[in-house]
Amino acid sequence: MDRLIYTAMTAMNAAMDRQRVVANNLANASTPGFRQEIFAVTPATLKDGSLEARALARGNVRGADMAPARVVPTGNPLDVALEGKALIAYQSPDRQGEIYSRRGDLRVAASGVIENGEGLAVLGEGGTPITVPPGFSISLAADGTVLASDPAAPNAAAEAIDRIRLVNPEGSPLAKGVDSFLKVPGGGVLPPDPTARLTSGALEMSNVETADTLVQMIEAQRAFEQRAKIIATAGTLDEAGSGLMALR
């Protein structure tokens, strides 16, 4: 049996994995702040002296595509869309360190903690979740400052209680973990971005480009089919070989 079929098989697996990544991107086309994943296949060459043969395909998820997505106005004052490349720091669900996201559908939980639509607590400048005093109404300034005003004192100026920890991902490694959150691989935090700005009353959507993703889907489909054909051809070659050697 020719080893060609194994080469083709790895490529088929890679095409199926690519299709899965594409499917996940498409499924998350409506998840606010979602960053689509990029799949890349690298050849793994088997070397034997001067001979290079059998390039096996090996698929990788090359991290998230951080391109900005469209921003839709929602009218909800606690929905925030980030300008530029800044990210919001959230408390990791396991409370171990920080995770980052562009998702800004914020709300105040019953405990007074500001969290997003996924239930993750927003971190303040000190790295701790921001808690709003009970009964206060809050608004968000363009630099992420959380302003709370006491409804019992309508004439008093709104008090700045904290600032949302907005970070700059520029020049730092950032990867999606198995929990689908962006974090610094191996632990660590991103530096704060004092120039970061946000728009309230708007939400940044997923950056999945459906037309582009559909093309990727067809590409993966056809690649899969081509490789199935290679295996079929290898089978024919094998049969021909056995036929030649058969004793009549």
Binding site: R20, N24, A27, A29, S30, A109, G117, D179, K229
Partner: protein, 263 residues
Amino acid sequence: MPTSALHVARTGLEAQDARMRVIANNLANIGTTGFKRDRVDFASLAYQEQRVAGQASTGQTAFAVGLNLGTGVQVQGTSRMSTQGTLNPTGNTFDLALDGDGFFQVELPPGGQIGFTRAGNFALANDGTLITAQGYALQPPLQVPAGAQSITIAPDGTVSALTPGNAEPTLLGQLTVASFVNPAGLRAIGDNFLVETAASGPAELGFAGENGRGQIRQGMLEASNVNVVEELVEMIEAQRAYEINSKMVSAVDEMLRNANQTL
């Protein structure tokens, strides 16, 4: 077998289907007094780690990047958008609208659980108590004496009426308005009623206009805050997202069929 692209696409179809249901409910309630539209919150599902970045690829080298495959999307929940609906004048004495935050409290039968509502289309029962269209009494109960004329409900909830034989209006009581730390955490039980949950926090009672509570507008009703154009855009978006996910299902199906036929 790891979750195939087929199942990942299925999660997308299910999530968009749930979103469509919420949009349909919003549109269906466009004429419901005091109705607040729901928004669907999506979240990506867990990822499966096929290969960890940094794992050894050979004896000397390690993979620079990992292979984490997502398993799709889920609807995390719906959040109620509490923006104010339009106040429409009706001229009806017992039509009350809240201009600002807060809820009216109503005793729900059986058991006397308190329901919260912004639908202020009240009426008088035959015994003179103020009740909702379903016949549930407003809390604390407001009793209007027989023969009372020109009942006035002030923005702070003070109810006064002219009674026969009196030149001065009689004070009948003051309506209280409930507010919550997290009104989005209230659970909708239908019939325009919401009930308190652990997420909403307990109701804080007070008078209208106090501590950020809205003022009461007599002779007005709050319309739903559903915006048709917004819902229609959402609807088209959900429809297209559904279509591309179904395309994904057929593409993967084609791949598998091709493998079955070719090999």
